[in-house]
Protein backbone atom coordinates (compact mmCIF):
# COMPACT_ATOMS: atom_id res chain seq x y z
CA UNK A 1 0.00 0.00 0.00
CA UNK A 2 1.28 3.43 -0.84
CA UNK A 3 1.10 6.02 1.96
CA UNK A 4 -2.35 7.33 2.64
CA UNK A 5 -1.42 10.97 2.04
CA UNK A 6 -0.14 10.26 -1.45
CA UNK A 7 -3.31 8.42 -2.27
CA UNK A 8 -5.50 11.26 -1.17
CA UNK A 9 -3.38 13.71 -3.10
CA UNK A 10 -3.64 11.87 -6.37
CA UNK A 11 -7.31 11.39 -5.83
CA UNK A 12 -7.83 15.07 -5.38
CA UNK A 13 -5.64 16.19 -8.22
CA UNK A 14 -7.29 13.89 -10.73
CA UNK A 15 -10.78 13.71 -9.38
CA UNK A 16 -12.44 15.05 -12.50
CA UNK A 17 -10.42 13.01 -15.00
CA UNK A 18 -11.61 9.69 -16.25
CA UNK A 19 -9.54 7.03 -17.93
CA UNK A 20 -10.50 5.79 -21.33
CA UNK A 21 -8.92 2.69 -22.86
CA UNK A 22 -8.73 0.82 -19.58
CA UNK A 23 -9.08 -2.33 -21.69
CA UNK A 24 -5.39 -1.97 -22.48
CA UNK A 25 -4.35 -2.59 -18.87
CA UNK A 26 -3.50 -6.22 -18.28
CA UNK A 27 -3.57 -8.08 -14.99
CA UNK A 28 -0.61 -6.94 -12.91
CA UNK A 29 0.97 -10.37 -12.56
CA UNK A 30 1.36 -10.51 -16.34
CA UNK A 31 3.71 -7.50 -16.27
CA UNK A 32 5.70 -9.15 -13.52
CA UNK A 33 5.80 -12.37 -15.53
CA UNK A 34 7.03 -10.54 -18.59
CA UNK A 35 9.71 -8.74 -16.61
CA UNK A 36 10.92 -11.87 -14.86
CA UNK A 37 10.99 -13.79 -18.10
CA UNK A 38 12.69 -10.97 -19.97
CA UNK A 39 15.50 -10.79 -17.42
CA UNK A 40 15.95 -14.54 -16.97
CA UNK A 41 19.18 -16.16 -18.06
CA UNK A 42 17.55 -18.17 -20.83
CA UNK A 43 15.82 -15.12 -22.23
CA UNK A 44 19.05 -13.09 -22.05
CA UNK A 45 20.77 -15.77 -24.08
CA UNK A 46 17.88 -15.78 -26.52
CA UNK A 47 18.15 -12.01 -26.85
CA UNK A 48 21.85 -12.36 -27.59
CA UNK A 49 20.94 -14.99 -30.17
CA UNK A 50 18.38 -12.74 -31.85
CA UNK A 51 19.58 -9.15 -31.37
CA UNK A 52 23.23 -9.63 -30.45
CA UNK A 53 22.70 -7.81 -27.16
CA UNK A 54 20.42 -7.70 -24.13
CA UNK A 55 17.26 -5.75 -24.66
CA UNK A 56 15.73 -3.21 -22.32
CA UNK A 57 13.18 -4.85 -20.04
CA UNK A 58 12.55 -1.88 -17.78
CA UNK A 59 9.24 -0.90 -19.34
CA UNK A 60 7.67 -4.11 -18.01
CA UNK A 61 8.88 -3.28 -14.50
CA UNK A 62 7.60 0.30 -14.67
CA UNK A 63 4.26 -1.01 -15.89
CA UNK A 64 4.16 -3.53 -13.08
CA UNK A 65 4.78 -0.85 -10.44
CA UNK A 66 2.20 1.46 -11.95
CA UNK A 67 -0.23 -1.40 -12.22
CA UNK A 68 0.11 -2.22 -8.55
CA UNK A 69 -0.45 1.39 -7.61
CA UNK A 70 -3.45 1.54 -9.88
CA UNK A 71 -4.94 -1.67 -8.52
CA UNK A 72 -4.37 -0.78 -4.90
CA UNK A 73 -6.03 2.58 -5.31
CA UNK A 74 -8.92 0.68 -6.87
CA UNK A 75 -8.72 2.61 -10.09
CA UNK A 76 -8.53 6.02 -8.48
CA UNK A 77 -4.85 6.63 -9.17
CA UNK A 78 -5.44 8.00 -12.63
CA UNK A 79 -1.81 9.02 -13.20
CA UNK A 80 -0.59 5.46 -12.75
CA UNK A 81 -3.34 4.07 -14.94
CA UNK A 82 -2.61 6.62 -17.59
CA UNK A 83 1.09 5.74 -17.55
CA UNK A 84 0.31 2.09 -18.24
CA UNK A 85 -2.08 2.96 -21.05
CA UNK A 86 0.56 5.19 -22.63
CA UNK A 87 3.21 2.52 -22.34
CA UNK A 88 0.90 -0.12 -23.81
CA UNK A 89 0.14 2.21 -26.66
CA UNK A 90 3.83 2.66 -27.34
CA UNK A 91 4.27 -1.08 -27.38
CA UNK A 92 1.42 -1.53 -29.85
CA UNK A 93 2.69 1.25 -32.06
CA UNK A 94 6.16 -0.24 -32.24
CA UNK A 95 4.78 -3.63 -33.25
CA UNK A 96 2.22 -2.35 -35.75
CA UNK A 97 4.58 0.18 -37.27
CA UNK A 98 6.90 -2.59 -38.40
CA UNK A 99 3.90 -4.39 -39.81
CA UNK A 100 2.63 -1.45 -41.84
CA UNK A 101 6.15 -0.49 -42.92
CA UNK A 102 6.44 -3.82 -44.72
CA UNK A 103 5.64 -2.65 -48.25
CA UNK A 104 6.86 -5.77 -50.03
CA UNK A 105 3.24 -6.28 -50.95
CA UNK A 106 0.09 -4.21 -51.17
CA UNK A 107 -2.44 -4.37 -48.36
CA UNK A 108 -5.81 -5.70 -49.43
CA UNK A 109 -8.89 -3.54 -49.00
CA UNK A 110 -11.06 -6.62 -48.64
CA UNK A 111 -10.41 -10.25 -47.89
CA UNK A 112 -9.76 -12.36 -51.01
CA UNK A 113 -12.93 -13.46 -52.75
CA UNK A 114 -11.65 -16.95 -53.44
CA UNK A 115 -10.99 -17.60 -49.75
CA UNK A 116 -13.59 -20.35 -49.44
CA UNK A 117 -14.27 -21.16 -53.08
CA UNK A 118 -15.67 -24.65 -53.68
CA UNK A 119 -13.15 -27.48 -53.78
CA UNK A 120 -12.85 -29.74 -56.82
CA UNK A 121 -15.34 -32.58 -56.86
CA UNK A 122 -12.86 -35.37 -56.17
CA UNK A 123 -11.68 -33.62 -53.04
CA UNK A 124 -15.21 -32.96 -51.82
CA UNK A 125 -15.98 -36.62 -52.35
CA UNK A 126 -12.92 -37.71 -50.39
CA UNK A 127 -13.86 -35.35 -47.56
CA UNK A 128 -17.35 -36.77 -47.12
CA UNK A 129 -18.09 -38.20 -43.68
CA UNK A 130 -14.60 -37.62 -42.35
CA UNK A 131 -13.57 -36.71 -38.84
CA UNK A 132 -12.81 -33.07 -39.63
CA UNK A 133 -16.12 -32.66 -41.43
CA UNK A 134 -17.93 -33.91 -38.35
CA UNK A 135 -15.88 -31.64 -36.09
CA UNK A 136 -16.50 -28.61 -38.28
CA UNK A 137 -20.23 -29.34 -38.14
CA UNK A 138 -19.98 -29.56 -34.38
CA UNK A 139 -18.19 -26.22 -34.23
CA UNK A 140 -20.86 -24.63 -36.38
CA UNK A 141 -23.59 -26.15 -34.24
CA UNK A 142 -24.95 -28.41 -36.98
CA UNK A 143 -24.19 -31.65 -35.18
CA UNK A 144 -24.31 -32.68 -31.54
CA UNK A 145 -20.88 -32.99 -29.96
CA UNK A 146 -19.77 -36.53 -29.31
CA UNK A 147 -17.61 -38.17 -26.72
CA UNK A 148 -14.05 -38.92 -27.75
CA UNK A 149 -12.79 -41.99 -26.09
CA UNK A 150 -12.34 -44.36 -28.95
CA UNK A 151 -8.86 -45.64 -29.57
CA UNK A 152 -7.21 -48.03 -31.94
CA UNK A 153 -5.80 -50.08 -29.13
CA UNK A 154 -6.62 -53.70 -29.87
CA UNK A 155 -5.69 -55.30 -26.54
CA UNK A 156 -8.71 -54.09 -24.63
Amino acid sequence: MPPQSENVETKQSNSNEKLTDTWAIRSCHLYKDEYDDCTSFKARFNQYFIFGKSIDCSSWLTDFRNCERYEQSQGKDVAAGDAIIKSEEQRRNARLQAHYANDTWQKRKQPPEDWAKPLPEWLEKRNENTYLELKQKELMGLATPQEEDRSFCAIM
Binding site: E34, F49, L96, A98, W115, L119, P120
Partner: protein
Protein backbone atom coordinates in the same frame (compact mmCIF):
# COMPACT_ATOMS: atom_id res chain seq x y z
CA UNK B 1 24.33 -9.58 -48.90
CA UNK B 2 26.77 -11.08 -46.46
CA UNK B 3 25.70 -14.31 -44.89
CA UNK B 4 23.88 -16.18 -47.62
CA UNK B 5 26.46 -15.40 -50.23
CA UNK B 6 29.10 -16.84 -47.94
CA UNK B 7 27.07 -19.98 -47.37
CA UNK B 8 26.52 -20.28 -51.06
CA UNK B 9 30.19 -19.96 -51.80
CA UNK B 10 30.92 -22.66 -49.24
CA UNK B 11 28.25 -24.92 -50.71
CA UNK B 12 29.61 -24.46 -54.20
CA UNK B 13 33.05 -25.32 -52.95
CA UNK B 14 32.04 -28.53 -51.22
CA UNK B 15 29.46 -29.82 -53.69
CA UNK B 16 30.80 -28.58 -56.96
CA UNK B 17 30.05 -31.89 -58.71
CA UNK B 18 26.31 -31.41 -58.31
CA UNK B 19 24.49 -28.67 -60.14
CA UNK B 20 22.83 -26.44 -57.53
CA UNK B 21 19.23 -26.89 -58.61
CA UNK B 22 16.20 -28.94 -57.76
CA UNK B 23 14.67 -29.90 -54.47
CA UNK B 24 17.06 -32.48 -53.18
CA UNK B 25 20.11 -30.22 -53.42
CA UNK B 26 19.63 -29.65 -49.74
CA UNK B 27 20.53 -32.68 -47.65
CA UNK B 28 18.38 -31.69 -44.70
CA UNK B 29 14.69 -32.39 -44.91
CA UNK B 30 12.82 -29.28 -45.90
CA UNK B 31 10.16 -28.98 -43.29
CA UNK B 32 7.47 -26.89 -44.82
CA UNK B 33 7.08 -25.63 -48.31
CA UNK B 34 4.32 -24.15 -50.36
CA UNK B 35 2.83 -25.96 -53.20
CA UNK B 36 1.74 -24.05 -56.19
CA UNK B 37 0.09 -25.83 -59.01
CA UNK B 38 -1.92 -25.26 -62.08
CA UNK B 39 -5.26 -26.99 -61.76
CA UNK B 40 -6.48 -26.05 -65.19
CA UNK B 41 -3.57 -27.32 -67.23
CA UNK B 42 -2.24 -30.79 -66.47
CA UNK B 43 1.51 -30.91 -66.30
CA UNK B 44 2.93 -32.34 -69.51
CA UNK B 45 6.16 -33.74 -68.11
CA UNK B 46 7.89 -34.30 -64.83
CA UNK B 47 10.18 -31.30 -65.25
CA UNK B 48 7.18 -29.03 -65.39
CA UNK B 49 5.72 -30.36 -62.16
CA UNK B 50 9.06 -30.07 -60.44
CA UNK B 51 9.19 -26.41 -61.28
CA UNK B 52 6.11 -25.83 -59.15
CA UNK B 53 7.22 -28.19 -56.41
CA UNK B 54 4.11 -30.27 -56.33
CA UNK B 55 5.46 -33.68 -56.96
CA UNK B 56 6.08 -33.56 -53.21
CA UNK B 57 2.33 -33.85 -52.70
CA UNK B 58 1.15 -36.68 -54.98
CA UNK B 59 -2.39 -36.71 -53.61
CA UNK B 60 -2.92 -33.10 -54.70
CA UNK B 61 -3.37 -34.42 -58.22
CA UNK B 62 -6.52 -36.24 -57.32
CA UNK B 63 -5.08 -39.72 -57.04
CA UNK B 64 -5.10 -41.67 -53.84
CA UNK B 65 -1.76 -42.95 -52.67
CA UNK B 66 -0.82 -46.31 -54.21
CA UNK B 67 0.79 -48.71 -51.80
CA UNK B 68 3.50 -51.13 -52.79
CA UNK B 69 2.73 -54.68 -51.71
CA UNK B 70 6.32 -55.25 -50.62
CA UNK B 71 6.07 -52.35 -48.21
CA UNK B 72 2.65 -53.48 -47.00
CA UNK B 73 4.12 -56.88 -46.27
CA UNK B 74 6.70 -55.33 -43.95
CA UNK B 75 4.08 -53.17 -42.29
CA UNK B 76 5.46 -49.89 -43.59
CA UNK B 77 2.38 -49.00 -45.60
CA UNK B 78 -1.24 -50.00 -45.85
CA UNK B 79 -2.57 -48.00 -42.90
CA UNK B 80 -3.24 -44.79 -44.83
CA UNK B 81 -6.85 -44.45 -43.74
CA UNK B 82 -6.02 -44.95 -40.09
CA UNK B 83 -3.14 -42.47 -40.44
CA UNK B 84 -5.47 -39.92 -41.95
CA UNK B 85 -7.92 -40.33 -39.11
CA UNK B 86 -5.16 -39.92 -36.53
CA UNK B 87 -3.80 -36.90 -38.35
CA UNK B 88 -7.23 -35.29 -38.36
CA UNK B 89 -7.56 -35.99 -34.66
CA UNK B 90 -4.23 -34.22 -34.10
CA UNK B 91 -5.39 -31.28 -36.17
CA UNK B 92 -8.54 -30.98 -34.12
CA UNK B 93 -6.57 -31.25 -30.90
CA UNK B 94 -4.32 -28.37 -32.03
CA UNK B 95 -7.32 -26.25 -32.95
CA UNK B 96 -8.75 -26.80 -29.49
CA UNK B 97 -5.54 -26.62 -27.44
CA UNK B 98 -2.62 -25.20 -29.40
CA UNK B 99 -2.05 -21.56 -28.38
CA UNK B 100 -0.43 -20.49 -31.63
CA UNK B 101 -2.99 -22.26 -33.79
CA UNK B 102 -5.81 -20.68 -31.81
CA UNK B 103 -4.10 -17.29 -32.11
CA UNK B 104 -3.69 -17.68 -35.86
CA UNK B 105 -7.27 -18.81 -36.35
CA UNK B 106 -8.50 -15.82 -34.37
CA UNK B 107 -6.29 -13.47 -36.36
CA UNK B 108 -7.56 -14.96 -39.61
CA UNK B 109 -11.17 -14.69 -38.53
CA UNK B 110 -10.84 -11.05 -37.54
CA UNK B 111 -9.15 -10.37 -40.88
CA UNK B 112 -12.25 -11.67 -42.59
CA UNK B 113 -10.88 -15.09 -43.47
CA UNK B 114 -12.42 -17.67 -41.15
CA UNK B 115 -10.95 -21.16 -41.25
CA UNK B 116 -13.30 -24.01 -42.03
CA UNK B 117 -11.50 -27.10 -40.78
CA UNK B 118 -12.76 -29.29 -43.59
CA UNK B 119 -12.42 -26.72 -46.35
CA UNK B 120 -8.97 -25.40 -45.45
CA UNK B 121 -7.08 -28.32 -43.96
CA UNK B 122 -6.29 -31.65 -45.57
CA UNK B 123 -4.31 -34.63 -44.29
CA UNK B 124 -2.42 -36.42 -47.04
CA UNK B 125 0.43 -38.76 -47.82
CA UNK B 126 3.39 -36.69 -49.04
CA UNK B 127 6.99 -37.04 -50.02
CA UNK B 128 9.09 -37.91 -46.94
CA UNK B 129 11.08 -34.67 -47.29
CA UNK B 130 8.19 -32.46 -46.19
CA UNK B 131 5.87 -32.33 -43.19
CA UNK B 132 3.33 -29.94 -44.59
CA UNK B 133 2.56 -27.34 -47.16
CA UNK B 134 0.23 -24.62 -48.28
CA UNK B 135 -1.56 -24.92 -51.61
CA UNK B 136 -2.39 -21.39 -52.78
CA UNK B 137 -4.44 -22.64 -55.71
CA UNK B 138 -7.01 -24.42 -53.58
CA UNK B 139 -6.16 -22.27 -50.55
CA UNK B 140 -5.60 -25.32 -48.40
CA UNK B 141 -3.13 -26.43 -45.77
CA UNK B 142 -1.67 -29.86 -46.43
CA UNK B 143 -0.61 -31.76 -43.33
CA UNK B 144 1.55 -34.75 -44.16
CA UNK B 145 0.04 -37.68 -42.30
CA UNK B 146 3.09 -39.85 -42.95
CA UNK B 147 5.63 -37.32 -41.64
CA UNK B 148 3.85 -35.10 -39.09
CA UNK B 149 2.77 -37.89 -36.80
CA UNK B 150 2.49 -36.21 -33.43
CA UNK B 151 0.65 -33.24 -32.02
CA UNK B 152 3.61 -30.89 -31.74
CA UNK B 153 4.64 -31.46 -35.34
CA UNK B 154 1.10 -30.86 -36.53
CA UNK B 155 1.01 -27.74 -34.37
CA UNK B 156 4.18 -26.49 -36.04
CA UNK B 157 2.87 -27.20 -39.52
CA UNK B 158 -0.47 -25.53 -38.88
CA UNK B 159 1.14 -22.41 -37.39
CA UNK B 160 3.63 -22.09 -40.23
CA UNK B 161 1.06 -22.52 -42.96
CA UNK B 162 -1.46 -20.26 -41.28
CA UNK B 163 1.12 -17.48 -41.38
CA UNK B 164 1.13 -17.88 -45.17
CA UNK B 165 -2.66 -17.80 -45.10
CA UNK B 166 -2.63 -14.67 -42.95
CA UNK B 167 -0.30 -12.97 -45.43
CA UNK B 168 -2.49 -14.04 -48.33
CA UNK B 169 -5.63 -12.87 -46.54
CA UNK B 170 -4.29 -9.42 -45.68
CA UNK B 171 -2.08 -8.67 -48.65
CA UNK B 172 -2.26 -8.94 -52.38
CA UNK B 173 0.06 -11.89 -52.32
CA UNK B 174 1.21 -13.41 -55.58
CA UNK B 175 2.97 -16.71 -55.01
CA UNK B 176 4.58 -16.50 -58.45
CA UNK B 177 6.40 -13.37 -57.35
CA UNK B 178 9.68 -14.56 -55.81
CA UNK B 179 9.90 -11.56 -53.49
CA UNK B 180 6.44 -12.19 -52.10
CA UNK B 181 7.25 -15.85 -51.64
CA UNK B 182 10.54 -15.01 -49.93
CA UNK B 183 8.83 -12.52 -47.63
CA UNK B 184 6.13 -14.87 -46.42
CA UNK B 185 8.70 -17.63 -45.89
CA UNK B 186 10.92 -15.24 -43.92
CA UNK B 187 7.99 -14.31 -41.71
CA UNK B 188 7.01 -17.91 -41.08
CA UNK B 189 10.57 -18.96 -40.22
CA UNK B 190 11.05 -15.87 -38.09
CA UNK B 191 7.94 -16.28 -35.98
CA UNK B 192 7.71 -19.97 -35.42
CA UNK B 193 10.72 -21.89 -36.60
CA UNK B 194 14.12 -20.51 -35.70
CA UNK B 195 14.61 -21.26 -32.03
CA UNK B 196 18.21 -21.67 -30.96
CA UNK B 197 17.90 -25.43 -31.07
CA UNK B 198 16.55 -25.56 -34.61
CA UNK B 199 19.15 -23.02 -35.69
CA UNK B 200 21.81 -25.31 -34.29
CA UNK B 201 20.33 -28.35 -36.01
CA UNK B 202 20.33 -26.39 -39.21
CA UNK B 203 23.97 -25.47 -38.72
CA UNK B 204 23.43 -21.74 -38.53
CA UNK B 205 24.31 -21.30 -34.88
CA UNK B 206 26.48 -22.81 -32.18
CA UNK B 207 26.91 -21.90 -28.53
CA UNK B 208 30.14 -20.09 -29.45
CA UNK B 209 28.69 -18.24 -32.41
CA UNK B 210 25.23 -17.39 -31.23
CA UNK B 211 25.36 -13.63 -31.65
CA UNK B 212 22.56 -12.60 -34.00
CA UNK B 213 22.60 -16.07 -35.51
CA UNK B 214 18.80 -16.05 -35.54
CA UNK B 215 18.82 -13.95 -38.69
CA UNK B 216 21.03 -16.46 -40.45
CA UNK B 217 18.71 -19.27 -39.51
CA UNK B 218 15.71 -17.36 -40.89
CA UNK B 219 17.59 -16.57 -44.08
CA UNK B 220 18.69 -20.09 -44.83
CA UNK B 221 15.33 -21.54 -43.90
CA UNK B 222 13.54 -19.11 -46.19
CA UNK B 223 16.06 -19.76 -48.93
CA UNK B 224 15.55 -23.52 -48.68
CA UNK B 225 11.79 -23.08 -48.84
CA UNK B 226 11.97 -20.79 -51.86
CA UNK B 227 14.34 -23.13 -53.67
CA UNK B 228 12.16 -26.14 -52.89
CA UNK B 229 9.16 -24.72 -54.70
CA UNK B 230 10.65 -22.57 -57.44
CA UNK B 231 12.97 -23.70 -60.13
CA UNK B 232 15.15 -20.60 -60.00
CA UNK B 233 18.86 -20.24 -59.63
CA UNK B 234 20.34 -20.07 -56.15
CA UNK B 235 21.72 -16.64 -56.93
CA UNK B 236 18.31 -15.22 -57.79
CA UNK B 237 16.73 -16.76 -54.70
CA UNK B 238 19.47 -15.34 -52.45
CA UNK B 239 19.06 -11.92 -54.02
CA UNK B 240 15.28 -12.01 -53.46
CA UNK B 241 15.62 -13.11 -49.83
CA UNK B 242 18.22 -10.44 -49.07
CA UNK B 243 16.18 -7.72 -50.77
CA UNK B 244 13.04 -8.21 -48.70
CA UNK B 245 14.72 -9.40 -45.50
CA UNK B 246 14.86 -6.21 -43.37
CA UNK B 247 11.19 -5.36 -43.75
CA UNK B 248 9.82 -8.87 -43.52
CA UNK B 249 12.04 -9.78 -40.58
CA UNK B 250 10.75 -6.82 -38.57
CA UNK B 251 7.10 -7.57 -39.34
CA UNK B 252 5.93 -9.76 -36.45
CA UNK B 253 2.19 -9.65 -36.93
CA UNK B 254 0.06 -11.51 -35.80
CA UNK B 255 2.17 -13.29 -33.17
CA UNK B 256 4.24 -10.33 -32.10
CA UNK B 257 7.24 -12.14 -30.74
CA UNK B 258 9.82 -14.63 -31.81
CA UNK B 259 8.80 -17.71 -29.91
CA UNK B 260 11.41 -19.20 -27.59
CA UNK B 261 11.29 -22.93 -26.99
CA UNK B 262 10.16 -24.23 -23.61
CA UNK B 263 8.94 -20.85 -22.50
CA UNK B 264 5.49 -19.42 -22.01
CA UNK B 265 5.94 -17.19 -25.06
CA UNK B 266 3.21 -19.03 -26.96
CA UNK B 267 0.69 -18.54 -24.18
CA UNK B 268 1.74 -14.91 -23.74
CA UNK B 269 1.33 -14.22 -27.43
CA UNK B 270 -2.10 -15.83 -27.32
CA UNK B 271 -3.14 -13.78 -24.30
CA UNK B 272 -2.12 -10.45 -25.76
CA UNK B 273 -3.73 -11.10 -29.16
CA UNK B 274 -7.04 -9.43 -28.19
CA UNK B 275 -5.12 -6.23 -27.40
CA UNK B 276 -4.24 -6.09 -31.09
CA UNK B 277 -7.79 -6.63 -32.22
CA UNK B 278 -7.61 -10.34 -32.96
CA UNK B 279 -10.51 -12.60 -32.19
CA UNK B 280 -10.34 -15.09 -29.38
CA UNK B 281 -10.80 -18.53 -30.78
Amino acid sequence: MGFLTEVWAKAMFTTDTKPPDGILADAQPVQDVNTTKETNEPAPNSKETKEWGYDLYPERRGETYKTKWTRVLFGMEGKENIDRYKCEQNVYWCVKNGPLVKLMMGALRSSGCPIDLRRHISCEVCDPSVTGGYDPVLNQIVVCQNMATNKSMVHGVLTHEMIHMFDYCNNDLDFRNVEHLACTEIRAANLAHCSFLSAMMQGDAAPWSAKQAHQNCVKSKALASVLAVRNISREDAIAAVERVFPKCYADLEPIGRRIRRNSTDQQKAYMEAPLYGYDVY
